[in-house]
Amino acid sequence: MAGNDQEYPKVVIREDECKGCGLCIVSCPENVLFEQKHLNRQGFHPAGYKGQGCTGCTFCFYQCPEPGAITVYKKGYVEEEVS
């Protein structure tokens, strides 16, 4: 899968770390984040990604107060980089 451009950019939200503040949702210029119906472990409605349309602008990352809740993979990201 490495280097598959189709997959990126994208945003990944760790639902258990999300506090449902909604700041990422209002900051997203593409409107691709939304508040989910279900509750997470802490009783918040976590944010979710619609699955496509993210441009990797990073706005949501910098608006989110929770250090580990959001990861943004930009265009051209290749998996080897993380390890």
């Binding site: 770390e17 506090k19 700041l23 802490q42 107060p65 580990g68």
Partner: protein, 474 residues
Amino acid sequence: MAKVLQKANSFYDIYERKSGMNKDITHYCPGCGHGVLHKLIAEAIDDFDIRDRTILISPVGCSVFAYYYFRVGNIQAAHGRAPAVATGIKRAMPHSIVISYQGDGDLAAIGGNNIMQAANRGEKITVFFVNNAIYGMTGGQMAPTTIVGQKTTTSPYGRKPENEGYPVRMCELISTLEAPLYVERVALGDPRHTNKVRRAVRRGLKNQIENKGFSFVEVLSVCPSGWKMTSEQAKDWLQEEMVKYFPLGVYKDESSKVETTEAKPHVFTIDNINENLSIPTRESASDKVEKKPQQQYRNPKLIIAGFGGQGVLMLGLGLAQAGMEAGYQVSWIPSYGPEMRGGTANCHVNLSTERIGSPTVSQPSLLIAMNAPSLDKFEKQVVKNGMILYNTSLIDKKPERSDIESVGIPATEIADELGNTRVANMVVLGAYIGLTGILDKKTLFQALPKFIKRNAMIPLNEKAIERGIEFVQK
């Protein structure tokens, strides 16, 4: 530019210090500005590669637990005192990157003077000042930065200048000072402003990396809980109301005028500490003492007592000074009560080859009594097999104890023969070293100028010491 934005390495993966469950999330309320600023700071620490020399001071306030999260050196300071703690750390470890992270209650209220003094001294630290216009942690009371009209639990009808004064603007105050290098106010809230916060955080840290001076970054922040708003309302209120009272921008920036230098770590070794304090190294200690004192005279604990004007404090000080030069661990504390003037005075002295646990002496191994009341008062406290050295010129009886060694010396008379009764103290000091060998004459003479201010008096004091030695050795 990294292709992935994720949790910074300068955060712990799991917040082990946090109590209870949920060790993977912060304790902050949803939408709280502290978390956003934490992320920007952690990212900068990663990017500048300074994690292993960064020390973050957590304040009192909601960010009191910042040390749960940052994988750096951490210290938590008393309310408002982070700048003083940061000062100490930075001066002891100039190569470290010291961050004082503070809320507005912490920095502008209880710690108001603390931050002004650190700024005025131009400490080379970085201060991140989180201004959320309220006391968050304690439930939303008014802060010095609460804006006019803002309702808090302690200004329920809104802040009124007639009653509570105007909001304090810290950037404006600090930028009037000469010493600060960089002062900027930025605001969280939307991506464009947050990006400016990110830049200011990095400038504040870079200034310290380049060893330039005091950097102060005020970050207008949100407290949805204290403000009783949703996260979104809070960010709008910040952008619409708060910035009116707290104009954003750079208030001072001298960073381009100051050269980049490298802060060198202090190297602490026994030798260079001793050198700085002009203490000979320990190895030379025993060399300086001609003969080792007999067992019962080693590591003495002294009470030296007399009436004011007999120089008992000076006697103790001289002994401690010379002892220090000889390489002993020493302590000297004067002890005087209301009878200081004209009454009795005494001091406690320790001379030891070991570390000294307590400088106070309750059971002396040696009592030097310069007058009768001192002998009466302290004789009982002397340890068994201890020693009493007493001034027979002014004490016409002998110590009663038979389980101690007692030596009388007509110190005042000898001093009088030398032309000045005030050197009786040095006669006794001479007698003491002559009897016990705790110090040799040479070391004592070398130390004299350190505790006798008038050079002209030194020959007389030397003579007095010699007479004391002669008296006990004949």
